[in-house]
């Protein structure tokens, strides 16, 4: 199936001369949940804002469902809902009023039944006549989601939906995202939290310094970039690594009591069993064994560090 969003050679240089997006290429599949991960200033918001029409691209193209975001902006924007990073809401409006406004702005006919259902799904219905400025931060975030969904978009962008949100609300947010996804909405979200990407996304894109470093299924990332570390504790210290073990990537700890074997995972397999056999053959006595696996977080930190 053709991708729902297709980004080609996208560049953004702000008026200040700052290059916030560098040759970004990305295809987003229909119905998937993709998480954009990256440190502050990586360009996540810039990327999203460009697709949504808030920032004009310097060069490159973006197509949404086959339509160009500039020449066919009406078609592409009708399909998209955006929940911004900041809690930006007009001060004097009611929840109901602001959601109805959003729906009209996107050119959809008034439909009070739909908005009522939307507000109920987001546990906002009992607040429908409250002024938005009187709501808590978490509630405001929900109102922004309701506004973004008011015109029944096919694609939803969530820019840091769980920033500054407590654990319970974060779980709620994940559930909302899962529910939308199960209804066929394609979801693109940004986050600083690896665990969040791990929890809800099908694919993860890692951004840093305006570049999209990689985009892969989170399992593939673990498989391709993940490392396993085997720590072998010895009963008696040794001065050097036995020669039969030199061909492996093994280090000896300073006190001579630990052998540390770093294995790359290739095709799901490692040399761990061979290493163990060689150790036994060399006459070293093993006291204990520990296996450590790198988390998505370690991989992420490695990637970003190598880049910068």
């Amino acid at each position: 199936m053709n991708p729902i969003i297709s980004i080609k050679d996208l560049n953004k240089i702000y008026a200040t001369g700052f290059n916030a997006l560098k040759n970004v290429n990305l295809e987003i599949n229909r119905g998937e949940i993709i998480a954009l991960l990256g440190p502050n200033g990586a360009g996540k918001t810039t990327l999203i804002s460009t697709i949504c029409g808030i920032v004009s691209p310097t060069s490159g193209t973006v197509h949404v469902d086959g339509f160009d975001i500039i020449s066919d902006f009406r078609k592409t924007r009708e399909m998209i809902g955006l929940v911004p990073q900041e809690l930006t809401l007009g001060a004097f409006e009611t929840v109901w009023g602001t959601v109805r406004f959003s729906r009209g702005l996107f050119g959809s006919k008034r439909d009070d039944d739909y908005i009522e259902k939307l507000l109920k799904d987001l546990s906002l219905f009992d607040k429908k006549d409250s002024e938005v400025r009187a709501l808590s931060g978490g509630m405001k975030r929900r109102v922004l989601i309701a506004k973004a969904l008011s015109h029944q978009p096919k694609i939803l962008f969530l820019d840091e939906p769980t920033a500054g949100v407590d654990v319970e609300l974060r779980k709620d947010m994940w559930k909302i995202i899962h529910d939308l996804s199960s209804k066929g909405v394609t979801i693109i979200l940004t986050t600083h939290y690896i665990e969040e990407a791990e929890e809800i996304a099908n694919r993860v894109g890692v951004m840093n310094n305006g570049e999209l470093l990689l985009v892969e299924g989170k399992d593939q990332i673990m498989e391709n970039l993940g490392k396993k570390q085997l720590v072998i504790e010895l009963k008696e210290s040794t001065k050097k690594i036995p020669s039969s073990l030199e061909k492996y990537n093994i280090e000896l700890s300073q006190n001579g009591l630990q052998l540390i074997y770093n294995s790359e995972i290739k095709d799901g397999e490692t040399d761990i069993s061979n290493v163990l056999i060689e150790i036994t053959n060399s006459g070293l006595l093993v006291k204990d064994l520990k296996i450590e696996k790198s988390s998505l977080e370690d991989i992420f930190v490695d990637l970003v560090r190598v880049e910068s």
């Binding site: 702000y14 008026a15 804002s49 949504c52 029409g53 808030i54 920032v55 004009s56 902006f73 009406r74 078609k75 924007r77 009708e78 998209i80 955006l82 911004p84 900041e86 930006t88 809401l89 007009g90 001060a91 004097f92 009023g97 109805r100 406004f101 959003s102 009209g104 702005l105 996107f106 050119g107 959809s108 006919k109 506004k147």
Partner: protein
């Protein structure tokens, strides 16, 4: 055209006006009444009739224009500045609406408010003086054109301004003096000759003069010139806005 969106922007902008209806009506009523007490009765009784029109009556068109000009600018400029300031503009920028649809919604609402305001002022004035409008059609035309032109101008200011000072500086330093010096409260024939010439460079003179003509058939400059000037100003505003649209000026990054 996304008419649904234009309508909702328009209604949304009008919303604040209805919400504060009491205030929206009370302030022009009070200020008009004050002008009449001070200028119409206290001072006006000592000023001779101007071309057969009593001073109290003479100031009605100027007084209306003063409010219409300043309110059109402040309503329209604030209307577009505020979402930029709070950040809610993101929604308008990401919606399937064109710049012109946004413009029609915002400027339409600002101009409507000014029209309502003018009606309130004229109604209040008619309590103090015996108001007869010689050319109602032209009166309305001048009024509507002025409301639209100055709301467009306000929209431009609101787009240009990136802080509150800039938002207020042009109305305060340019528009208010121009209105007061543009013959709102006097006929330029009452000025020394040199100042009459200088005043001819004041665009507001043409607005007030034409508008006053539609009431009393007296004017400082010919009606044709007045109309031409309004259209000229309108065209300049539309031109500037067209340029802003092309460049995405101060809206998109």
């Amino acid at each position: 055209m996304n008419f649904v969106a234009i309508r909702i922007i328009y209604l949304h902008e009008m919303g604040r006006f209805w919400q504060t209806l009491g205030q929206s009506i009370a302030s022009p009523v009070i200020s008009t009444a004050l002008y009449f007490v001070v200028f119409g009765s206290a001072i006006g009784s000592r000023i001779a009739n101007i071309e057969g029109v009593s001073y109290g009556l003479f100031i009605v068109p100027g007084l209306t224009m003063l409010s219409v000009l300043t309110q059109s600018i402040s309503n329209a400029s604030f209307g577009i500045f505020f979402p930029k300031f709070t950040g809610t503009i993101y929604e308008i920028l990401s919606a399937p609406v064109s710049f012109y649809e946004v413009l029609i919604g915002f400027v339409g609402a600002a101009a409507t408010k000014s029209l309502i305001l003018a009606t309130i002022i004229l109604a209040t004035a008619s309590l103090f003086v015996d108001l007869n409008i010689a050319h109602p059609f032209w009166m309305l035309s001048f009024l509507v054109l002025t409301c639209i032109a100055f709301s467009l101008f306000g929209f431009i200011i609101g787009l240009w301004a990136d802080n509150f000072e800039k938002l207020q500086i042009i109305p305060l330093l340019i528009i208010t003096p121009l209105v007061f010096l543009g013959g709102s409260f006097y006929s330029i024939s009452m000025l020394p000759e040199l100042w009459q010439k200088v005043t001819l460079f004041n665009p507001v003179l043409y607005l007030v003069s034409g508008f006053r003509w539609s009431f009393f058939e007296i004017s400082d400059v010919s009606v044709g010139i007045s109309l031409t000037m309004i259209f000229l100003f309108l065209s300049i505003c539309i031109g500037v806005i067209g340029w802003m649209f092309k460049t995405g000026y101060r809206l998109k990054q």
